[in-house]
Symmetry: C2
Subunit: 292 residues, 2 copies
DNA sequence: GTCGATTACGTATTACGTAACAATT
DNA sequence: AATTGTTACGTAATACGTAATCGAC
């Protein structure tokens, strides 16, 4: 029977160009590789190589075989990853989210509900990464900023988040009752790096601004205290980390992009696990929620 | 390494329900199968079975593994078929057509152009079968009744075919200068079975008619001579098999469905092979063309 | 007692390595 | 001379079969 190891060998030959080089890479002898490929050809019933006296090269069949079998081996690896992820999903909960706030909220209610379960989280602004991860069982549950319609998955509304601009009282914008992104465009703004899809939003709505990304939260907080630079907060962060002494004012942002509704999406097979979520998120007390 | 034979074994266990039965089917001993599955689990790093004292059953992981690996093995078989078809396509020409007339024409010009090549043909009214066969190299060239737009393929117009109704001069419809399918709907009509998509056309345009399909061409011809039943002919068949002595009149059919333009579609890699076609089909002398 | 699964151990298949050879550079 | 590929033949890995054991029905 044709076996995976033969296909791996074929691809290695294609990559390395010669049998000798491929054999070296595969940690087998070159005669073994010769015979292995002869068997593969025999089992397929077609020739894969043009053989000259001391030269071997893929023929048309061989080139197509390499192309098709490479796909197949990738799919095999994909399946193994999926199976391992599926196995893990039975012992731990993996959250994938487009933004940080849903992670805080979900971790809070999930640890309360399932104190013995391991809960991990990934922040990723790419929706396709999240949806793919859900499909591959890499995520048990994902959070997007919009609902989806797919009969395989449950989709429940979690909560809303509204963005504010935070500036010192002396800042020219501090007098505004509310503000639009256009008012801000061009101003330098302090930002945390790990904010998921808010990152893309900012680059889109204030393209003229310098976005001063900070990886470190401590550094970020110091800079806010020490500078007059505007930064963003949301109604959620104003509840989870109170900073009355900061001496900053929060100005509502009127643009649609500043108002987000988060939706949790999970496999219907996990209904039992996550059915409590909708109710739990309604009653969440954000002042109890901690980040990280 | 995980190998195909282990996946086959897993699927057999899933099908047969027990190790003993599966071992019997696989023509190996049951202990060998036990160990093989233990290795598979070890290599995957996950458990696939719930093991009780003298009972083994797939767990959740196992069920998913069976589902995913079954797909993978099907793809493997598909690839092997594709490779073998691709290999054959280098030595022979396989025509797939939605109707008989293009097969006659193509075989005629292809045997003239490539007298040493084997040429086979398949008549199939299902467009997806033809397109899939083209993709899988089962067909070197296919003929549809409309062009397609796909950058991988060349698409050239071959010729037109126009349908006529053939009736004895004494038949009531024989007086008509031309005719529409509506005039015919309800009448019994003699038909050959192997006429490709014309079959579907007839069932659609004269749903009230009894379609008296004949598998055998000889029988069909006898019935035409011996009966007053109407049958279909086309401008092509009237050239390829002349039947002046039949004492029948051919009446043009005015409906759009009775006028077809055939298009040949082939892989761009086969440009050299088929480039001559368009010109050759223009100059074809249908009187020289034979069926089968 | 029969059936189904696992473990232990010896066996056989088969893929592999070594050696020798041929041909190209 | 160095490199590349094939063939022949002995070897070693490993999948397999047999026998024994345990437990369930």
């Amino acid at each position: 029977m044709i076996e995976f190891y033969q296909l791996e060998q074929l691809l290695t030959i294609a990559r390395e160009g010669t049998l000798s080089k491929a054999a070296e890479v595969l940690l087998i002898s070159q005669p073994a590789l010769t015979r292995s490929m002869q068997r593969l050809e025999e089992e397929l019933g077609i020739k894969l190589f043009n053989r000259k006296k001391n030269k071997i090269e893929l023929n048309q069949n061989g080139k197509l075989a390499v192309e098709l079998f490479e796909k197949l081996l990738n799919e095999k690896e994909q399946i193994i990853s999926t199976l391992q992820a599926y196995n893990r999903s039975q012992f731990e909960i993996n959250i994938g989210s487009c933004a940080p706030a849903p992670i805080w909220g979900l971790k809070h209610v999930l640890t309360k509900q399932y104190p013995d379960m391991q809960i991990h989280d990934v922040l990723d602004s790419h929706e396709d990464v999240l949806l793919n991860g859900l499909k591959n069982y890499e995520f048990s549950i994902i959070v997007l900023n919009h609902p989806i319609d797919d009969s395989h998955y449950e989709c429940v509304k979690l909560f809303e988040e509204n963005l504010f601009l935070s500036v010192p009282p002396a800042h020219p914008l501090a007098l505004f009752k509310d503000i639009s992104f256009d008012d801000l465009n061009g101003e330098s703004v302090l930002l945390l790096s790990r904010i998921g899809f808010w990152n893309e939003i900012c680059q889109k709505v204030i393209p003229q601004s310098h976005l001063l990304f900070q990886e470190d939260g401590q550094v970020f907080n110091e800079l806010i205290k020490a500078s007059a630079l505007p930064n963003f907060r949301s109604d959620i962060t104003m509840l989870t980390d109170e900073r009355e002494k900061e001496n900053r004012v929060a100005i509502p942002i009127i643009n649609d992009e500043a108002h987000v509704t988060y939706y949790a999406i999970y496999d219907k097979n996990n209904k039992k696990l996550f059915a409590f979520l909708q109710e739990a998120m309604k009653n969440i007390n954000w002042k109890e929620v901690t980040h990280d």
